[in-house]
Amino acid sequence: MAPGSKATKSNETPIPLTSAERVELYRTMVEIREFEEQVQRSYLEGLVHGTTHLCNGHEAVSAGVAKALRPDDYLSYTYRGHGHCLARGMDAEAAFAELFGRETGVCGGLGGSMHLTDIDKGLIGAFGIVGAGLPVAVGAALSAQLAGKEQVCVCFFGDGATNIGAFHEAMNLAQVWKLPVIFVCENNLYGEFTRIDHTTPYEDLVIRARGYAMEAVLVDGNDVEAVYAATAPAVARARGGGGPTFIECKTYRHRGHSRTDPAKYRDPAEVEAWLKRDPLLLHRKVLADDGLLGDQEAEAMISEARAAAKAAADRAAAASWASADQDFMAKTYV
């Protein structure tokens, strides 16, 4: 770990999870993984257009954070946002339909893979411009503060996003206004094809928070229970008016940046080491060790999720294309 940037542990006791909840976390991760695997297959079948950014490897972050939230909380996220949306309960068929450009897509086929939005689930937006979602999250958190209902906003972004101005302005605003926002940095070590050591002075981005005297936690982003344990107290503090927290989740993406990227710029040893730390494997082992999930059950869960993803994709693919006759101006202006 880089000098001057020790991992800090939240000093509040994490809200304990029941056994059932711990197993549910695994199911959520499996569902995200199988969704992304299906996206990849659908891509190869020509059903997904343009580009898409898979989150394989990041599942523990989406699942662990989402577990700490209430239904009326807000989330902002990025083009690599399928996992955040699914963990929050976005309908998989509507998500596939969006990726396929169908009328039944969650954004009617107008948004696409990079812009999944589902306002009723607090999924306020996926931002394609790096960093752009952070100030928006600050606004949602300000809204929560003003409304006084103890809601919070979680804001997901990557390591690369910590280099852009919007990040800084959002962090400072959140801290000076003591807003209920949790900044969740998914540090997967790469922004596109460039490793973090080329773009930031230290690999542990938790140091960024120091410039704002903001609470910060560095957590193993591949350990879903650790992510939950880091998030829950931050959320509790935010609800109580204690202000923002910056959570750095160390993780790794299993695939390339986007569909065209074979990710050859990564050291195979690095990739291998991280694949061994696949969040699904890790949690499955923990649950097995704790006697909560047998091998058969786990395999059944995977098959079920795979079949469900396939079925959702099939239904989505059978839906009508977004219509060229719709009133686009009514989609642009109220």
Binding site: T117, A132, G139, A140
Partner: protein, 326 residues
């Protein structure tokens, strides 16, 4: 409803105050707008009445607070932001053009974005190249935005109120040289309507002059000069730059057969071209001469006072241009 003489600045304050009273989901953010009432005093008294939560001083972070407006709008609030100098729209351009303007569309039309961005622009105060732009054209090509330009206290009041009630993002471009302009304003109006097109300020059969913001006054002064020579110019305030609706201008041109458009921006890339092109499409056969555009020259604003004055279209130039077309 009462009508009284007030300045453009007071009209802005009145509109903000009434709308903030009308709807508790409104709030305003900007630099030095709290206790200080705003560098141009366009928020005077609001802090005292509505408090620090709804009249919010921000750090110097336009990307931050304009972006925050989007988050507020998506979660039930109706934010207004003040951009102290319109020139600073450049700093938060991405949040406006890629975020605020497109979010509704990208969601499949499922969200409303009730945001008002007030930006105080314009030349004439010797603020030099980085503090004198009206920024009218930077965002003309951005679908999803509405852009309005008040040229008088009454318009400043009406447009701002309507913008605040509108469920779309509206960019209200105010002009700093007009802040102390006085005029009658009917306040306390509840059924405000967003202007959907230009307005005739003065009728005339001989030529049509279209202008925005501070150029409207110059156009009216030119019309006075022309009248002394027996020429009746119709003066039209463009009011709404986006969506751009030139129907009324076409009607006017069908009567006058002459069109002159005046704007306070560089010649290349200004909205006056758009008006000309649209009018030419609709009323080509009615034009007796090619429409003229009077604009700033194609260089930044110089600081030295006489140079600044020389850049800005004058009533004399406008009048002479009209005469040259008759």
């Amino acid at each position: 409803m009462t009508t009284r003489e007030m300045t453009y600045r007071e009209a802005i304050v009145a509109a903000l105050q009434e709308e903030m009273r009308h709807d508790s989901r409104t709030l305003i953010m900007g630099e030095d707008i709290g206790e200080s009432g705003g560098p141009f005093k366009t928020c005077q008294g609001l802090y005292e009445e509505f408090g620090a939560a709804r009249v919010r001083d921000t750090p110097i972070a336009e990307t931050g607070f304009v972006g925050a407006a989007l988050g507020l709008a998506l979660t039930g609030y109706r934010p207004i932001v003040e951009i102290m100098f319109a020139d600073f729209l450049g700093v938060c351009f991405d949040q406006i053009v890629n975020g605020i303007a497109k979010h509704r569309f990208m969601s499949g039309g499922k969200v409303d974005i009730p945001i008002v961005i007030r930006a105080i622009g314009g030349a004439g105060l010797r603020f030099a190249a980085q503090h004198s732009q009206t920024a009218e054209s930077w965002m003309m090509s951005v679908p999803g935005l509405k852009i309005v330009c008040p040229s008088s206290p009454a318009e400043a009041y009406g447009m701002l109120k309507a913008a605040i009630r509108d469920n779309n993002p509206v960019l209200v471009l105010e002009h700093k040289a007009l802040l102390s302009m006085k005029g009658p304003v009917e306040t306390g109006v509840d059924d405000v309507e967003m202007p959907t097109g230009p307005k005739i300020l003065r009728g005339g059969a001989d030529a049509t002059i279209v202008a925005s913001l501070a150029m409207v006054g110059k156009a009216l002064a030119a019309a006075d000069q022309l009248r002394a020579e027996g020429i009746e110019a119709e003066v039209i305030d463009i009011r709404t730059l986006r969506p751009l609706n030139v129907d009324l201008i076409c009607d006017s041109v069908r009567r006058t057969n002459i069109l002159v458009v005046v704007e306070e921006q560089a010649r290349t890339g200004g909205w006056s071209s758009n008006v000309v092109a649209d009018v030419v499409s609709e009323a080509f056969d009615y034009l007796d001469a090619p429409p003229a555009r009077i604009t700033l020259p194609d260089h930044p604003m110089p600081y030295s006072p006489a140079l600044e004055d020389a850049m800005i279209p004058s009533p004399e130039t406008i009048a002479a241009t009209v005469k040259s077309l008759l």
